[in-house]
Symmetry: C2
Subunit: 404 residues, 2 copies
């Protein structure tokens, strides 16, 4: 298939582009390098040193004989998007090209507005471009499990049958997103559903859980292909941060009680899910929703797993509870359905001791690059403006904000 | 109370500002005259000739001795909004300052993007300004009944108790909006709900039905205070259009079968609902939703009511069915709750023969200003781009698009 990967220089996008290319698809990456720019803005860098995209693509071609096309630009620029789609003529578009960090969107008003305008306008542009140029092309859009929040009922995949006062309808599952970023994904979901209805577009909205892991088969071919490993408080995810903390003797920083439970998946499953969605497109006019994760964990469960793995490797690993910088339930019911991708053939890679060891080993390998001043949360949901000035490294033992 | 009316030069905003001023509140209007600009863009004008805002305000002060403050600017400009709130220090903000026409948002990509960015950013700015300057100020935000769409179950006021697999929760009512404009209001609702949760703001989201009527007690004081009467295909509402059509012998143009059922209310109830919301503010952290309408009608019921009223006045009034330019159910279940404003004391003005007569009389009075080329829909939901070129007047009998 001809598949365009929007945001193909980012963490999920890069792994996806290589996987699809290796599987014989004709792939184009569309990216404006915004993700690299945000690293500069925040004064952070991925633990793994990543190469410029042009170099990555050259190495990929040398190693595999497969070339990936590249279109550099911003999809909020409609002329650019239009000419890209016209030139590449994709059968499927995988859309990762959004600002994807909740804390980034909560820094202040400008970051909130940027996140929502960037994400909503990019997706609106894409919907119009598909309507105009490629109404049969299948949109595979990355949403997030965070759209649902943590309701006290089971979470269904996108839609729920509601019986009410003796009548019944299948309606979009109610959304309770927990940041201006998560809200932007909810806005996208509503816009996409509407465009499918009025224009007969095909879409799959993938409400993805938290992704962990760095190494996919393709990335492992060569050091030059290595993927991101973000552990900072803004773009880092919790498991990465815990691994980086463990290998330098920093306590694992759990926000609040740590009962926050979310869906998780291995990046090797992300790339397979994307291919499964592409190979089994939605029908004309259909806006399908899949919950894309394989297991649920609470933050404390992950902290304890890293603690065990770390101790086995000889590290002293302690768990610290910080006041939760987010406004969220610290203990709650959580049971989200995720059978549709399994039905399409996904065979999950569950979080195992060996996977945790491999994550720890990456952290050990690049230990000298770890900047412990990036661990502590500086973006507080309760404040409208977070200065987010660079702190000097704080030793775990002097953590002022320690909780019971 | 000190009440800021954002969008106070528009149809609902103007009536509200005068009503609140007459009731003794200290009122400021914030407006950037966008509504007047859109008239120029579309080549249309309100049937009633409205005066410049500065003149309206001068006449109001001369007649009543009450002055209304004026801040001219755009709330998507945060510096302007910030300095305005700082200067006026409102206890309540009534927020009408959005692009409010579904067909306008469906003209093409630029209008869709403009509508969503304008509405979402304006509201985000307002939320941040309230958090920063006036966290106790009560936000009274105009939403729309169109956020709900037409589900096959009863529509509740904002939230619904869902029982599912043996568990229960109160969740936001699922939204199925029918245009990029209606979507923008859904985006706003989610953003407001979140801001109340994280910052403890107070908000009332008024999901308003279709408003009819031009004359409120205050507007009636003087011809210079007259309110808008929009009858064109973009900003006009259905009852106004039918009245304008009836008095010049044009058939009443019903879209499709005319079974589309919506909530309606008299503008005299709009202004009272707004005051009731202001006088009974939401609690800190509460995002309250009221469905603001008093009666449900189908489009055919309204057409028949205007036909009857028109014939009584000696006009020949025929009803024509055009293909529906919108993508919507032409026949459907509709039962929306609307008791919360009644509980606060609203005494509805129901649509009566005398009110219809008064609408017809306005149409007769300004009959010479009716431009029949503005009646026919030129914005088709199924197209991504609608040229919307000015047509010459089309006689009812030669309507090409006539349906059974």
């Amino acid at each position: 298939m001809k598949i365009g990967v929007l945001g193909g220089d980012g963490y999920c996008g890069w792994a996806t582009a290589l996987y699809l290319s290796a599987r014989g698809h004709s792939v184009a990456i569309v990216d404006n390098y915004a993700r690299r720019q945000w690293d500069y803005e925040l004064g952070v860098q991925t633990l793994t040193p990543i190469k410029p995209l042009a170099e990555r693509l050259k190495v990929w071609e040398q190693l595999t004989g497969r070339s990936i096309e590249l279109f550099v630009g911003d999809i909020t620029d409609y002329d650019f998007l239009h000419s890209t789609l016209r030139a590449f003529e994709p059968e499927a578009i995988v859309h990762f090209a959004e600002q994807r960090a909740a804390p980034y969107s909560m820094i202040d008003r400008k970051h909130a507005v940027f996140t929502q305008v960037n994400n909503v306008v990019g997706t609106l542009n894409l919907l119009f471009a598909l309507r105009e140029l490629a109404p049969d092309c299948h949109l595979v859009k990355l949403g997030t499990m965070g759209e649902y929040g943590t309701p006290n009922i089971d979470i269904e995949e996108g839609y729920i049958t509601i019986e009410h006062n003796g009548r019944k309808d299948v309606l979009p599952f109610p959304k309770q997103p927990g940041s201006f970023y998560h809200l932007s994904k909810v806005h996208d979901s509503h816009n996409i559903m509407f465009a499918c209805k009025i224009w007969g577009l095909r879409a799959t909205d993938l409400n993805q859980g938290v992704v962990y892991g760095t190494v996919t088969d393709e990335v492992a071919f060569d050091e030059a292909l290595i993927n991101r490993f973000d552990y900072d408080e803004v773009f880092g995810t919790v498991l990465n941060r815990f691994c980086a903390q463990a290998v330098i003797g920093h306590c694992l920083t759990v926000y609040g009680k740590g009962g926050q439970t979310r869906g998780f998946l291995d990046i090797r499953d992300t790339v397979r899910c994307i291919e499964l969605a592409c190979l089994n497109p939605a029908g004309r006019g259909e806006c399908r929703v899949f919950n894309q994760f394989t297991e649920q964990f609470s933050v404390m469960e992950l902290a304890e797993a890293v603690q065990t793995a770390g101790r086995k490797m000889g590290f002293e690993v302690e768990i610290e509870h910080l006041p939760d910088p987010r406004v969220e339930a610290e203990e709650h019911y959580y049971n989200a359905k995720h059978s549709k991708l399994i039905d399409l053939g996904l065979q999950p890679h569950y979080l195992s001791d060996s996977l945790l060891d491999s994550l720890m080993n990456i952290a050990i390998r690049y230990r000298d690059r770890i900047d412990s001043s990036l661990f502590l949360p500086q973006v507080n949901w309760r404040q409208a403006t977070n200065a987010r000035r660079r702190q000097t490294a704080v030793e775990p033992v002097v953590l002022a904000a320690r909780q019971g």
